[in-house]
């Protein structure tokens, strides 16, 4: 895998790409949130990622190890996003960063993704099908892990498949009735709207893929259909009766 210097550059580029993308999509995310939430997701995430850009510019990042840099990103999101999104995006990033202690490899990136997903689920106590970011994250993380560990695909191809699975997860949130978070108050009225947290999660993953393609060598299979998600696939969850309460 790439040396620490290259990894640091990749992380910094990823930060910039994600921040730009969130800024671009700010009103889109807020529109999605105003339909079923409290209309601040775009502004909140934008404030967080702009702060991240400033933090990596002002902090002395040249000497930082990749995991410390990722930890700084998480901590900055925590202190600038607030609400539930701060702990979900920032806390999960920060706490999962210790999986990258040995640098970023195919193995540690799987561990990071799994730890991130675990933290989100612990924090939010949301299962798949509750119309949250979990619906996008679970298929993405499971696909990434399976592609690397079972199918032995190169990380870039695995990431590309994960983004594809994530996108399907986002689409899957549209017909769901929200059972977690602010949107759950709308109950049936949340049906037909795309979840903003799942959507911003997809934007972040798309930018990570974009950045990885620019900074890492390797063959990317474009438009690869994702393999079957090992378990808890959206299709399975969708078979559950919608009126059954979560947990």
């Amino acid at each position: 895998m790439a040396d620490a210097e290259t990894q640091r550059e990749a992380i910094l580029a990823a930060v910039e790409n994600v921040a730009d993308r969130i800024a671009e999509e700010k009103s889109h995310l807020t529109d999605l949130d105003s339909a079923i939430g409290d209309a601040d997701h775009g502004a909140n995430m934008n404030r967080g990622f702009q702060a991240v850009v400033e933090a990596v510019e002002s902090d002395d990042v040249d000497e930082m190890s990749p995991d410390d840099l990722v930890k700084l990103v998480g901590k900055t999101i925590i202190s600038n996003v607030g609400g539930a999104a701060g702990p979900l995006y920032g806390g999960s990033t920060m706490l999962a960063s210790k999986e990258l202690e040995g640098g970023i490899t195919a193995e540690t990136s799987v561990a990071f993704a799994e730890a991130y997903l675990q933290k989100v689920q612990d924090r939010g106590k949301a299962e798949i099908g509750a119309k949250t970011m979990v619906d996008a994250l679970v298929p993405a993380v499971h696909t990434y892990k399976k592609s690397i560990e079972q199918d032995d695909l190169p990380p870039l191809t695995a990431l590309s498949k994960a983004v594809d699975a994530c996108e399907r997860g986002v689409r899957y949130t549209v017909p769901l009735r929200a059972r977690k978070g602010r949107a759950s108050y709308l109950d049936w009225r949340s049906v037909g709207h795309q979840d903003p947290g799942a959507t911003s999660t997809l934007f972040i993953l798309e930018e990570l893929l974009e950045t990885a393609e620019e900074h890492l060598d390797g063959e990317v299979v474009r438009d690869a259909r994702s393999p079957d998600v090992p378990d808890e696939s959206p299709e399975e969850a969708a078979d559950e009766p919608l009126d059954e309460e979560g947990e």
């Binding site: 609400g83 702990p87 978070g181």
Partner: protein, 333 residues
Amino acid sequence: MKKLINDPADYVDEMLEGMVAAHPDRLRRLDGTKVLVRADAPVDGKVGVVSGGGSGHEPAHAGYIGDGMLDGAAAGEVFTSPTADQLEEMVRACDAGEGVLCVVKNYEGDVMNFETAGEMAEMEDAEVVQVVVDDDVAVEDSLYTSGRRGVCGTILVHKIAGAKAAAGGDLEEVRTVAEKVVDNVGTMGMALTSCITPEKGEPTFELGEDEIELGIGIHGEPGVERTDVMSADEVADRLTEQVLDDIEIEDGDEVATIVNGMGGTPLSELYIVNRRLQQILDDRGVETWDAWVGDYMTSLDMMGCSVTVLRLDDELKELLGAPADTPALKRTD
């Protein structure tokens, strides 16, 4: 709307500045944060007890900082959880090496930020445990929570866990007694009017002149039932009976009670509610060991009240009666 404020954006900041100015010998603000801690924090050899949440519930939470209660309290924006990094700073400032108990009201934002803060502090080798208070018997799930909301019963957790820590209890003992309070306390509230948040400047829900709302939380969220105006006795009956039934208070039990004002109701009316509350307890053969009446956990300028009942045993009585010296609550031996 008329309010004694300057810029709504400075509301929390200026309130905290005023609090420290009123109690400079007891309260200290952590630089660059909205966290207040005891002037002498961390207290050597003592488990730290901290709390916090959105602003607008004064005197909760910083009003309960002092001997026998809290070591620190973090203030978020009005009705908004403090961020995890501020909570982490509080935890570390109140950790004398004996560990820290976080008393958290069951609201999603509060729980998530406190959990993250605890894990952040643990990465730096602090020992942190949480107790989540969910005393509101009006709802199972609400606009902001999974499970019941945490409301006025939280103050009793502050008092009793704080007393246990002051008496030299270790972290596990302090956590256990805090959980005991949570298991034995119930609260239900009602509103005569909505509150008005400084940012929005208008009521968060509309109530007609002849309507009241039962089962409200403390963030201006709607309640579970809207009814015609009732007398104080009828309100006290509804609130008290639901609480007593929920926590299964029986003949011969000893309890502590709180008639809590929501911020806009005069003490005289709270006493009228307390009069009826005590009659109901007498009728049921329940003995009131301690009765508090006043504004303990408010919702800005909302008119209304909540009734809290805590079932007591010898340990809880001793800790509830132990001395406390804070800006908002004082007890002597």
